[in-house]
């Protein structure tokens, strides 16, 4: 215990002496939550033209309220089409001025399919959920209507991804650099020194990385406007568990890869793949079967599931998530312990 506390103390001193690394970690987390989150959730300032001179609909108000469109109203349809062609607006809604029938024609410039997708989803939501004054043969409904936005839904997945990034990076830099220091080898060669080093290192990195993530969330949440939910105990608990899981995996990977260059490269590539595969951006259910199988076998899916449950109160299997994250942590620790024991014998 004394050894563990001594190593933790040493790591905390080293951490406080290098504030730049701490600040950089927070900046990275903020950047990912803010920029990546906004990109995934969709753009919020699509220039939208509305032709509805008689005010048949209240689309101008509804579109503005949806926080996805910046609306310009037109009295002249030809001018609106001209503005669409010249790029002043990205989409035009032509509301029929027919005394008998409601219809809305959506016209886009057409060169950018990604913008078209963003527009389609935004307009569908407005037309079917807000524009009740229009009698359109188009309706949408949810079996379990929720109160959170797309931005809120994206954040827990990004939190899970950040657990991986911050924990692995922190652990990698901390462990591999210090492994190369001779003083650290002396700690490991001491009786029960290796066990103390592993326990102390995983503990320190888990706590440090969790603090970084919590600070980043506290800064971005009011600025970007996403919810952190009300179940803070669960959020804190799953942050610590996820961080611990990825720290242990990082430790195992650091022991396998040995050099910081290979470790950084591998962790970065694996992180991007994990983010796309694990249902952080799109639901796993929408992916091909083989990709789903990969997602279900990786820890980030379960971390994201737990965070969604904790932050958004969506149905989550907490027990399963905890067990799988713990199993991955054990696997990482086992690999690290076996490799370090072998390496200690060669020292």
């Amino acid at each position: 215990m004394h050894q563990i506390l001594a190593i933790i103390n040493k790591d905390i001193i080293a951490w406080t002496r290098r504030p730049l690394y701490f600040i950089a970690s927070i900046m990275l987390s903020i950047l990912i939550i803010w920029a990546v989150g906004n990109t995934i959730a969709g753009v919020g300032t699509i220039p939208f033209g509305l032709y509805d001179p008689a005010g048949i609909s209240e689309l101008s108000q509804h579109l503005t309220d949806s926080n996805r469109f910046v609306v310009t109203t037109y009295e002249d349809l030809d001018k609106a089409k001209h503005d669409l062609a010249s790029g002043k607006i990205a989409v035009l809604a032509n509301v029929s001025q027919d005394p008998l029938e409601d219809s809305v024609q959506i016209v886009t410039e057409g060169h950018n399919p990604l913008v078209d997708i963003q527009i389609s989803t935004g307009i569908l939501a407005v037309l079917t959920q807000r524009a009740k004054e229009l009698s359109l043969p188009l309706h949408s409904a949810a079996l379990f209507p929720v109160t959170f936005s797309v931005r809120d839904y994206v954040t827990p997945g990004l939190v899970a991804y950040l657990c991986y990034v911050v924990a692995c990076m922190n652990l990698g830099f901390s462990w591999i650099y210090e492994w190369m220091e001779k003083t650290y080898r002396q700690i490991i060669l001491a009786p029960r020194g290796l066990r103390a080093a592993i326990v102390a290192k995983t503990f320190t990195v888990t706590v440090e990385a969790s603090v970084v993530l919590w600070l980043a969330l506290c800064i971005t949440s009011p600025l970007v406007g996403f919810t952190l939910g009300s179940n803070f105990l669960m959020l804190v608990g799953f942050t610590l568990l996820s961080m611990f899981c990825f720290t242990c995996i990082g430790l195992g990977a650091a022991c396998v890869l040995r050099t910081i260059r290979i470790y950084t490269m591998t962790v970065s590539i694996a992180g991007v793949a994990l983010m796309f595969v694990s249902g952080v951006i799109y639901p796993v259910e929408a992916m091909p079967h083989w990709e789903q199988m990969i997602a279900y076998s990786l820890p980030m899916y379960y971390s994201a599931d737990a965070f969604k449950g904790a932050i958004l109160a969506t149905p989550a299997d907490y027990v399963r998530d905890m067990l799988i994250l713990s199993a991955w942590a054990c696997a990482g620790l086992t690999i690290a312990a076996i490799l370090l024991n072998r390496r200690r014998a060669t020292l």
Binding site: A54, I56, Q97, P99, L100, E101, Q129, R130
Partner: protein, 206 residues
Amino acid sequence: MFGPKPLKIAICLLLVSAWTLPPLYAQSGKQVVQEVVTLLSAPPNRNGSQRSIYEAVNRHMNYEDMCANLLTSKEWEKLPAAKKQRIQTMVQKLIEKRYYPRWQKLFSKGKIAFVGEAEARQDVYVKTHLTIGKKESQIVWHLRPKLGEMTILSLAVGRKDLLASMTTRFQRHLKEDGIDGVIVWLRDKLDEEEVHASGPTSSELK
């Protein structure tokens, strides 16, 4: 000065003219349409004035003949008076909720120009042009005399006719579910319009 012969001739001429000339109504078709457009163009400025506008418009609408046309005259005649009244009230409410606010917006923003008036049998068709911005659409008002007044039975925009489209839907429900099914469908449509009029609920917006 006036002997019995010219008097007889005058009476005969009067009778012949009364029989051959078209009947005289309080207002012509054009005047009725003009009044309805004026009523719907007026902005409601006081609480409850919307209701009074609708009631004034309803006086020019022929909902009884409209319902008889929706079901065909024979089907309509067979119905008990209470059901007739119920259907007529529901159709009136449906059109009030569905179309009157829309016509108010269009007529207050646009300009109506009268193009012509034509008669076919006892009915009168008034052709108008509605101009909003640069866009012009043709509205043909179908009027029918009732109790000495010209009343609006339907209106058509392009190929769409209010009465014809309602008749198609009525007949479909009548064929599938009978007259009670039509009443249920009308009630559902009225409920839908209530939702449209009241706007989205807070839970729907979340």
